[in-house]
Symmetry: C2
């Protein structure tokens, strides 16, 4: 059955998935519904319409339809950078002298540098189809903002990005990529929104936060004719679009008769992890096949490993709906780390439910060990990984080293979500031996937990 | 014959070329030999041994062998990022509303961000095979230094890069990528070499130049046991290794029965252009098929379009051999531009000979028009191109627009040599409307020409 495995398994364009896979359809324990932050009632389609695009709300609320066709226009865009390669990490295996077989799905082969583009083009497409003029969003590390600006440039849609001010200043190149794609980029907090002005009044010198940027983007979208707000992670619609990662991975493995034992992904809001594991988890839920799934999160922001499974606000500003999820509390401020894409207090509700049901494992790792893995990987595999992605590399290496001890020939698949070209400040710190680790104390976590909303039992 | 053309034509690993193609073997007018800068006699194998690796000297001097096998170790490295995709630019064609069919060979799918890696791994491999401890080189824009540091990390070879000081300071992220790969990076001029100290004494505040960095790298290699100097362009050995670009391009086109009319590449020292056109030019030289070839150079550094075909020094320091080439004179200082990779006073001798024989065309373009093309390309094709590569994009667009006027359905192929992730300062200048063009006057050129060496006729 096994053909010789190439370094990179590329699917043909004709083998690219024609539908996204909605994992919720196969879950017995469905994720809990979003709640209205004022009434604590489940959010309805109509509740969400002022903020989100119509079709995206349908996708957000649909936990029944297993396969949702990918429109041709989106498939054509995907063809510019997909199918993404599934790489057999021969050189890493050799370096580790492990009997394990390691594969990674590489999502960094596009200018946005990450998997975020998979959902950005879908969200921009539905916004365009609805006849909207533009979309607003927030960005922290900048990958999502970049992806969205690319998608909007392609479709001729206006794109307004609120970028956390400290990132805006520290990552001028990220900002310039977005501007090159025609997006307007506003440092947040800004004078352009009510909530921004209020925050600036209270905290004149603040560098901003993701929570604040979300609030500004939401306000900006709701107050302008023909605009809606879009989001790059956490939501179920994002998970749905990202299922293309897992579907392609599975198709490529199936082509060569390879069955993974362990599937590993980094986990911030969950967009990559959820997308990668979706079709495999579907098999597990349907009792067809068993896999180990490992979510890897930073020790500085351990929502799965140290958080609570509870209803919480999705944003720091508490204007967004409540989601039932593993959370550190929307008031938890993760210590500054070099994996901005993983600095989120909560976790997508589907992944949270699966984790709570014991269907998935989670581990947390410290950033110096992550950069050590990143550098080793870069040297032997030739790709400079994003710090976020490198969390998965770290644990893949750990698992491969366990195989070395036991002699087991396990097959390990991990998601390499993106490249680190815009993270060289972090690499520089690591190269200079100046990087440190931050692990919140129980007291730090208690502050976040204290702010969890009290939701009346139904 | 024509199958439906996918957006990206990927070859199988088994279809990857097994040999490099040495275009010189098919040339009737061979390029003139390198001359010893002191005696003006042709450089021999022994003359070159103190500076270059043995096997690379053989390749440099061999103008007879058409196909040189690629060692398995190099092929295995290539497999980490090759075969590189040949992309059908459907979206660009649609944007331009042209009947032309546009393809580009994309060489930016690796962490070094450019085609330079194709020769870096070959040069590092032969150095390692010779039992050397390490290699030295210079880098300006940083693509070559990055590529070499990746190749050396893979092979466990020491890598010392002399980086033009102004780039070292302005492109700290490039520097950090090299350091992440374990290379030592020294700003040039430095106190570590005799030539560096002399220059610093004369010009205490200088930002350095490529010519100075070459001199330091050559000195550093010659004075240390177990070290040799390597170079990323201009030399025939580099052109040979880069032929993999053209061979893959041709294999991919042949697979779909596509015959190009026009082949376009940007031209600095000639490494990419020479590699891309090699097998096609071979057919033309053998009278099998005709193509138009267009070399695109910056108007600020127009070696083909405004230079002289003469023997000249390859470096500003005049320590390297003389090469017969189109040159602006080794004393010509190109005005600062955002395409550091094209700021070279000369041109590879093979390409110079072909151009002189009327087998290839050349045009020069100004940088604002190049960035205009780059931005248009980025928006529709989703890849943020390097400024150097964007010279080829500019002329491909110009040719496609001519087809629009005439209605001709020409097939245009161009080389997209790399990505622009480390060129955001340039994009920022363009986005802010602050970019200007520099065209040397005839008086500027006269200064360079005046310094051309007087070589006795044989």
């Amino acid at each position: 059955m096994n053909k010789e495995i190439p370094y990179k398994i590329y699917l043909e364009e004709s083998e690219m998935p024609k539908s996204w896979y909605n994992l919720r359809a196969d879950m017995k324990n469905k994720p809990a519904p979003l709640l209205n932050p004022k009434t604590f009632e489940p959010m309805t389609y109509e509740d969400l319409r002022p903020v989100f695009c119509d079709e995206l709300i349908r996708q957000e609320l649909d936990d029944q339809t297993a396969y949702i066709p990918i429109p041709d226009e989106i498939r054509n865009f995907y063809k510019m950078y997909r199918p993404a390669p599934l790489v057999r990490a021969y050189c890493l295996e050799e370096k580790l002298q492990t009997p394990a077989k390691i594969y990674y799905k590489f999502e960094g082969n596009n200018t946005s540098g990450s998997h975020k583009l998979n959902s950005a083009i879908a969200q921009a497409y539905y916004a365009k189809k609805q006849g909207l003029k533009g979309v607003t969003t927030e960005t922290g590390a900048g990958q999502w903002g970049t992806a969205l600006s690319m998608a909007c440039a392609y479709l001729g849609l206006d794109c307004n990005v609120f970028m956390v001010k400290v990132s805006y200043e520290q990552k001028p190149f990220r900002r310039e990529v977005m501007r090159t794609y025609g997006a307007s980029v506003t440092p947040s907090p800004s004078e352009t929104t009510k909530v921004g002005r209020e925050i600036l009044k209270k905290h004149p010198g603040t560098g901003g936060s993701l929570g604040c940027a979300i609030s500004e983007a939401v306000e900006s979208a709701s107050e302008r004719e023909g605009y809606r707000y879009v989001l790059g992670s956490v939501l179920n619609q994002v998970m749905l679009h990202q299922s293309i990662i897992g579907l392609e991975t599975k198709a490529a493995l199936d082509k060569y008769g390879v069955v993974p034992d362990i599937i590993i992904g980094c986990a911030g809001g969950g967009s990559n992890l959820g997308g990668l594991i979706a079709p495999f988890m579907g098999e597990k839920l349907r009792g067809e096949r068993d896999y180990r799934f490992i979510a890897v999160e930073p020790a500085s922001c351990p929502s799965l490993t140290r958080g609570k499974f509870a209803y919480d606000y999705c944003d720091t500003g508490m204007v967004c709906p409540l989601s039932k999820m593993y959370t550190l509390g929307s008031g938890f401020i993760p210590s500054s780390s070099h994996s901005g894409g993983l600095r989120y207090h909560g976790m997508n509700s589907v992944l949270s439910q699966l984790y709570d049901d014991g269907l998935m494992e989670a581990v947390s790792v410290e950033q110096t060990s992550v950069f050590e893995a990143a550098q080793m990987f870069a040297k032997v595999e030739g790709i400079l990984p994003a710090p976020e992605s490198s969390h998965a590399i770290r644990v893949a290496i750990n698992e491969a080293l366990k195989c070395k001890e036991t002699g087991e020939e396990k097959t390990i698949v991990f998601g390499l979500t993106g490249t680190g070209y815009f993270d060289m400040v972090a690499y520089q710190k690591y190269n200079d031996g100046l990087m440190s680790d931050y692990i919140p104390t129980d007291e730090d976590l208690a502050v976040g937990f204290a702010g969890l909303p009290i939701v009346p039992e139904k």
